[in-house]
């Protein structure tokens, strides 16, 4: 009885965040970029430092949201939790060949980053998208 009750309470309390976390995220790029859409593979390669290059040939400059949306993003993208992603990066950092994406402090910074750099690439919730960014991929 008791474990069931406590889990029910937990679900009710976290309802909004759960809903939020499961909400659609979109990958956005510079609005003026020649690239219109990106594949999931391309997004993974860019964000996880494999190829930092857009299909257009531009150097891709990814940016991460703060922790909350970042975890959701990676979860949706590669199915990994944030600590795993961090561990991944810590090993690559050692060789210095590639770097993790730029860490933004908030959404505004992300928008500004994407809007200001032609090779920038970020992500946000679909309803946060405005004209300053261009959606390249919807993540479900």
């Amino acid at each position: 009885m008791k474990p069931f009750l406590s889990s029910l309470i937990w679900v009710l309390l976290n309802w909004p965040s759960l809903l939020y976390a499961g909400g659609p995220l979109v990958v956005v790029i510079h609005p003026g970029s020649s690239v219109e859409t990106l594949s999931r593979e391309e997004v993974i390669n860019i964000f996880l430092g494999r190829y930092r290059q857009l299909p257009s040939g531009l150097l891709a400059q990814p940016v991460d949201q703060p922790a909350g949306q970042k975890a959701s993003f990676y979860k949706l993208l590669v199915g990994k939790e944030l600590p795993e992603i961090n561990a991944y990066w810590s090993r690559l950092v050692f060789s210095g060949k590639t770097k993790p994406p730029q860490q933004a402090r908030d959404l505004a910074e992300v928008i500004q980053w994407v809007n200001s750099l032609p090779g920038a690439i970020g992500y946000m919730e679909a309803d946060q998208v405005d004209s300053r960014v261009k959606v390249a991929l919807k993540l479900n």
Partner: protein
Amino acid sequence: MAHVPWRHSILLRTAAIVIGVACAVGALFIAQTLRVTSERTYARSTAGLSELIDTVESTVSIACFVTDQALALEVARGLLKNIQVRGVVIAAGTQELARVSRSSDAATTNDANLAPLERKIHSPFNAQEVVGMIRLEPNREEIRQLIHQETRFFGLLLVLQLIAVVGSVVFIVLRTVVHPIKTMSDGLHRLDAAAGESLPQPPGHAHTEIGRLVEDINELARRMVVAMEEERAVTRQRELEERKYRVIFDNARIGILTIDHTGHIESYNPALFYLLDLPRSSGGEDPGFTLQSLSWRQSSLPQAMILQCLDNNSPMTDDLELLLDDGTVRWINLVLSPVGENRLQGILADVTGRKQAEAAAKQEAVTDLLTGLSNRMGLERSLESQIHTHLNMPGRGFALMMLKLDGFRRINDAMGFGVGDLILKEAANRLQNCLKASDTVARLDGGKFALLLPRAFGEVRASMIGQRILKTLAHQFDVQGAPLQLGANIGITLCPGDGGDPPTLLRNAQLALDRAHNNNHHGFTFFDTTLAEIAERRGVLETDLRLALRREGFRLFYQPIVDLNHHRVVGAEALIRWDHPQNGLISPDDFIPLAEETGMICEIGLWALESACRQLLIWQSAGRGDLYLSINVSGRQIPDSLSPERIAQTVWRYGIDPSRLVLEITEGVLLNNVIQAQHWLATLRDLGFRIYLDDFGTGYSSLSYLKRFPVDTVKIDKSFIRDMAADNDDRALVEAIIAMARSLRLSVVAEGVETLQHAALLRQMHCYTAQGFLFSKPVPEEQLAAAMARIEAMPVELL
């Protein structure tokens, strides 16, 4: 046996075998173990390398994902730190990210077991996507070294274990089994059982199989020693006996030889030559003759004996005559016994003496030793040969006489056998003197002789010879100075007239002799066929008599005895009658002599005694206990058949007073055996029985007899009574008898009183007891009472 060389020693052999087998098995085991160890070590190495890859896989995956050479190199170097890794190659797709390897390496890559370990590397974010590969080159040298080390270690361990185990086993086996056996073996080798030594018990083996083995060996040795000693004693004894028998063999008086089946003599003793009357030869050599080649009279017999002996495999013996050079004959008894292998042992003995003795004995068998005449067997032989001669050359026949000296037995009894023998010799002499040499005289038994007279054919000649013989025997015999008069009777039979075979002739002569004897006047009688008929009748009568005895064919008749004075019956004489089924009643005169001859009189007498007692009992019951009954006793019944005890017992059984039973005897009865008769008489009289002397006057009737034989009553014979009315002599005789009896205080019974005159005369002579037809003839029991009543009713004045 020699000492066991060390290389054959059981110790060494056992140790070598145990070690060899253990090493072979151990080597096999070790090889197998090493192979397994090597495989396990390699597998472990491979697993180790695989695990090594596992630990770096995620990093390698990242390095390949991002084609980070620095990271790949770092990982590869790290891997190379493992001694078992010789080289590492990491590649992302076609691009080689890192390749490192040890420099000091001249690897042999052809080792299939140690192929490089390659694994595909998947993307860290997509398990399906292959982003590269990693290949580990194993450090073959190192792994091989490791395997070597491992196997060497285990091998060494196993070898050491093997050595320890084998050593222990060898030690224990040698110590507990082999060494005791070797000690035993060595001890046994040196053992002198005859000296009483025995094998020591190995320590600690008292109750094991080895201990038992030692005990058994000691026991066996002891028994062997005993057996050997016995064997030695037997051998010694045998040698001794061998010497003894050798001496016997050499010095024996009998000939000993061995021959083969052809009669060839193989060995012999010196006595053989003496025995065969041959020149002496040194023993052991071929004697120069065979058993058959000797001068035997029965020349084929030795060969036949040899063959028969071998065929039957049993000893044979026979007497052979050996003809000697000087013309004499030596009897040799030859015994042949088979001794196996177709050989025979022969024993020869000189039996000439025995043969002569046998011939003499044969002669004796047909000779009467006392008189030197033939005996019965000799007579029969002569008779047979005489008949044989007669049949071959029929002539006028011959005579056979049988002669019996009359009164010989009496003289023998009275004067002893010495006198009898002298008389027989004298008679034999006289007989031979009045016969020819061709005649045969034989003594048969007692005073009986037989004469076979080949020339006495026909009755005339036989009568002449018979007369001559009777005459010569009628002369008195002077024996020991006492003249004795004997007569003889002769029976004569003629051959072939009376018979043609010895038994018939002998029987005929006997019958003729019996007839002559019965005539009793010292003469001779010729056999005629009536004699044979009489004999045959007698035979029939005898059979009937036996039958009568069995079937109670006899009856007692009673003749009353009367007291003339008191005119009453005082008793009766019991007279036996034979109720013959065909011939009717037969008087005792016709069958008592035969019964006496055959001995049946004894049973008849007993039957008469019983019947008389029964009659006395009847009288006693009828109130006539005063009557007495007399029965006649024959000489054959005295003393044993009708013994005083028997009579007394019978009378007692019926409850009869002994004085009621009278026993009538004749004088002749008493004369047969005087002493026994006297005793018999005295005993009966002591028991209370009365004795009547029957037929008085007909025999010797001597006064001295009356004195010697104490009787109660004399019965005057009926012949005197019958004639006394007409003959004065008889009357005087009767008177004398009565007077004499009275003077001896004997009572008198007159027999055969037939007329009133007889009775009157007797009364005048003061004889008052009588029996006879005047009163009653003998009557059967059922008529007795009537007869007695009639007698007592007779008018007194008649008597």
